[in-house]
Each structure stands twice: as C-alpha cells, then as structure tokens.
C-alpha cells in the first residue's frame, strides 16, 4: 500500500492541476460520501493495526517511507525465486551524520510540486478554481505528511536519557 497506492494518491491532485480534468463534476455528494467512508475506514484500520500506539505518527511514517517500500517491491519483483539480494548491514554506524540528501528527493519533488502547481494552474487557468481549491486540501495533507519526515530526517536526533541508544549500545 505504501509503496504503490500512496504514490498514486500523491500524483492524482498534480494531474488534476495540470489537466483540469475530473470525472467527479456533478457527482460531488456521492464522491464526498465515498471519500468520507474511506477516510473513516482508514482511521479505524490504523487504530486497530497499530494498537492505538501513536497511530497518526505511524501513518505518517508509512506515507513518508513510500520510496523504501516501493524499492522493496521492485527488488522482490526483479529478483528471481530462490535468489535474494545480498545482505547489507543498514545500521553499521548509527550515530554518524547521513549526507545522502538524495534519499529525500522524492519527498522534496512532491512537496515542491504540490506547493507550486496549484498556484500555476490557477494563474494560467489550467483547471477550474473550484477543482484546484478542492484538490489543494489533499495537497496540504500530503505536504504536511511528507514535510514532517523531511524535517525529522534533517534534524539532529534527540533522545531522553533513558532511551538514548548511546547509553544502550555504547557510542
């Protein structure tokens, strides 16, 4: 879901800003009813799935890590049965500063596109203002979800003394 479905959700508003096309005009009440039911089901699912343990944060991580899950799906598809990719230690030096900014490139691209395309579309008249305003709500949610992860990745991690891994693993 995170690797395949979320990216589609991220792209749909961008597509609408660019092409101005929607099949929902004239069927707005039906759309909002179905969308509301979907949202309610999602909230319930995550509450159940994450045992009420900070479900919103876990949801944001699930969304934000879509490139990781997407890459994992691709790896599973491209490696034939019986042949696994070589093992790599992914936490060899957990306290070193990560300089791989490009890991955040998909997030930054989506944030920039969602932040600029609606204005551009409004300015150039690519889509109806009503359509843009409606999709901007989804863009705002996407920006919020992805920006949280970007901020977390760019910030120096802080732990309480009891949970500090340096204390646990020795740094």
């Amino acid at each position: 879901m995170s690797g395949l479905v979320f990216p589609i959700f991220f792209v749909i508003p961008l597509w609408v800003y660019w092409h101005g096309y929607t099949s929902l005009l004239g069927q707005e009440p039906v759309y909002w009813a179905l969308r509301g039911a979907y949202l309610a089901s999602t909230i319930l699912m995550f509450r159940y799935l994450f045992s009420r343990e900070n479900a919103l944060k876990q949801f944001k991580m699930l969304c934000g890590l879509f490139p990781v899950y997407g890459a994992a799906i691709l790896a599973a598809l491209f490696y034939p049965p019986g042949r696994k990719p070589p093992y790599r230690v992914n936490n060899r030096n957990p306290f070193a500063e990560s300089g791989k900014w490009w890991c955040l490139a998909p997030h930054l691209v989506f944030i920039i596109l969602h932040g600029t395309l609606p204005f551009l579309s409004l300015w150039l008249g690519w889509a109806l203002p009503r359509l843009i305003a409606c999709n901007a709500i989804f863009s705002a949610v996407i920006i919020w979800v992805l920006a949280d992860l970007v901020v977390a990745a760019w910030s120096k991690p802080h732990w309480s003394t009891a949970l500090d891994p340096r204390q646990a693993y020795g740094g």
Binding site: G26, P118, L122, L128, R130, A136, A140, I143, W144, S155
Partner: protein, 358 residues
C-alpha cells in the same frame, strides 16, 4: 530545533491552503459553488430582473460543465434577453453541435439570427431541421410562431401550423391557424376549420359567429345569413350580431329578413338614424314607400335635416302622391336648381292632375 521544525510543518499546510483559497477567490468569487448551484442561482437572479449577475452566474455554470445543454441553453437565452445576439448565437451553436437533441439551442440560434438581421438564415435553419424531423411538434409550433411574426412569412407560418394540426388536432393550434388564414384572407381554407370548431364546441356562440363572418368575407352571403339565423336563435338580444345579420341578409338580397332585423334594431335604439335610413332604403326597394316615408319623417322634420335625407323623404312622399308634403320637403332641401325643377314639376302635376307612371 525539531520542535520548531514541527511547528513550521503544522503551519505550512494551513498557510498554503489560505493562500490557495485567497487566490481562487481573487480569480473568481463564486469558485466554491457547484455548476448546479450556479445555474439555480442564475435562474433565481434572472427572475428578479438582475440580468447582469444572472448572466455572470450562468456563464460560470456552463464553463464548469460545458456538456450540460440545459446550462448552455439558459445562457443563450440570457444573452438574447440582454441584447447580445452574437454571443447567444455562438453559445447555442456550440450546444447544438455537442447535443443534436437540444432543440432549445436551435431555437436560440433562430432568435439570435433574427435579431442579427439574418431572418432568411433563421428560416432556413428551421426548415432544415423540420425536414429531418417532420413530426417534432414542439419545433413545428415554434416555427409557426416565429414565421407568423412577419407578414411576408405568413404563408410559411400557415404551412407549419397546418402540419402541426395534422400531427395534433389541438383546438389551440387550430385557433392560431384560423387567425393566420383570416389575416391572409384565405377564407376558403379557413371555413372547414371553423366548421370543425363550431361542431366541437356547439355551445360556443363565438365559434358560430366567426363561421358566419368567414362566409360573409367569402361573399357567400346566403350561407352567412343562415348561420346568423342560427346564432340569433341562441342569442336574440345581441344587437351587434343582429346588425351583422341584417347586413348579411341585405347583401344576400333577403329583404324581408334584413327588414325584420333592422326593425328590431330600430325599435331597440329608439329610431336611430342609421337604422331608419336602412329601413327606408329596404322598404323603398320593396315598394313600400309609405313605410319608407314614415320612417324618414322624424329625420326630415328635425331643425336642420341632412339634404340627402330630406331629398329621400321628398321622393318617398312623391311616390305615395303626397304632393303637398313632397313639395314642402323639396323646398326645404338645399339644392336650389334641383328644387326649382322638381317643385315646378310637382306644381304642374298638381295643376294638371297628371297621373305619373309610378
């Protein structure tokens, strides 16, 4: 640092949304409304007479949903009402090109072309459609009404109404058709239709009256007289119809019938001059000169009688050999030359006791 970043992340979507909504509102203050909402508002505003605002709302509704023919037709109608036929024509053409069943758009095109002064193109458009859809009653009615607007297109209007009446024997359509046939003086074609109406509504005296009039205009005075007779059996007290009946009988050379009608009118209107003259003429025609003279006497004995009346009175008196009164009447009449000649003749007759050949 992280806490500060989180605050920015929380605020960012709100700021973004605020900016988008502000910008959208700046571009279009009705951006949040659905096409249906815009359309309904446009209808409401239009009914309140605010055409400019209605036009703006209708334009937005159609822009949002250009496939909706109803919105396009309404926008075209508003353009027509606000005196913008070129815009109406463009909108209606686009609607009709998308939806060939949107006859409202076709009507809009026709009206717009007419307003633009291209009535021939409007009529051609209608004729083309009705050739493909000969049984479309709504469009036949519209075409009839449209063509009837100008005298030079009356023949086309009659044809459309005749086709419509063949499709749907509606009394209202027949009524329109009859009015057009009468206006075009095509009484022969109108009479059978009027007979149908009179037969369908036997209690409707006006239908019978119109039938009588049609026969009269067709110069079939005998038929007109018979119908007036039927009519007066139902409405004997109607003076207007009685007068028409008298005129019809007069024209049909039914002197006795005409006399009876004029006598009724003469009695009802206490010796009105118009009826007195008609009675005198008919009686004179019939050879009843005493009656003619009697009915003319009150008119001739007024202070200043009309010369024509005076002369007729004198002649009737002469014809019943009341020479004294006749002489007096001639002397009172204004034309000196005629009076002198006639007075001398009467004096001669009286002196010689001549017997005149009349």
């Amino acid at each position: 640092m992280v806490a500060k970043g989180r605050w920015v992340v929380r605020l960012l979507p709100l700021v973004f949304l605020g900016l988008i909504f502000w910008f959208a509102w700046h571009r279009d203050r009705d951006f949040w409304r659905s096409p249906n909402n815009l359309y309904q508002s446009a209808r409401q505003v239009s009914s309140q007479g605010e055409n400019r605002r209605a036009l703006e709302l209708a334009r937005k509704a159609w822009t949002q949903e250009p496939d909706n023919s109803q919105y396009g037709i309404f926008l075209g109608r508003l353009y027509l009402e606000s005196g913008q036929p070129q815009e109406a024509l463009e909108v209606c053409r686009r609607v009709y090109a998308r939806d060939g069943r949107a006859t409202g758009a076709l009507k809009g095109q026709v009206q717009a072309l007419d307003l633009l002064g291209d009535r021939a193109a409007a009529l051609t458009l209608l004729a083309g459609y009705l050739q493909k859809h000969p049984q479309d009653r709504e469009m036949l009615l519209f075409a009839g009404q449209f063509a009837a607007g100008r005298e030079e297109d009356r023949a086309a209007a009659i044809t459309y109404y005749q086709r419509l009446y063949r499709e749907d024997s509606d009394p209202l359509v027949r009524r329109e058709l009859l009015d057009l046939l009468v206006a075009a003086e095509r009484f022969k074609e109108a009479i059978p239709l009027q007979e149908e109406e009179a037969a369908q509504f036997p209690e409707n005296q006006e239908a019978l009256h119109r039938l009588a009039l049609l026969h009269y205009w067709q110069r079939d005075y005998q038929a007109a007289t018979q119908i007036y007779q039927r009519l007066l059996e139902q409405a004997a007290e109607d003076a207007a119809w009685r007068l028409e009946a008298a005129q019809a009988a007069d024209a049909a050379q039914e002197v006795d019938q005409a006399l009876s009608h004029y006598l009724w009118l003469y009695g009802r209107h206490q010796g009105k001059k118009e009826y007195a003259l008609a009675l005198a003429r008919l009686w004179s025609q019939k050879g009843c000169h005493a009656e003619a003279a009697a009915v003319l006497a009150p008119l001739a004995e007024q202070d200043k009688p009309e010369p024509e009346v005076q002369r007729s009175y004198a002649l009737e008196l002469l014809l019943i050999r009341d020479f004294g009164k006749s002489l007096k009447a001639y002397e009172a009449e204004g034309d000196e030359f005629v009076n002198r000649q006639l007075s001398q003749l009467i004096k001669l007759v009286m002196a010689k006791r001549l017997i005149l050949p009349f």
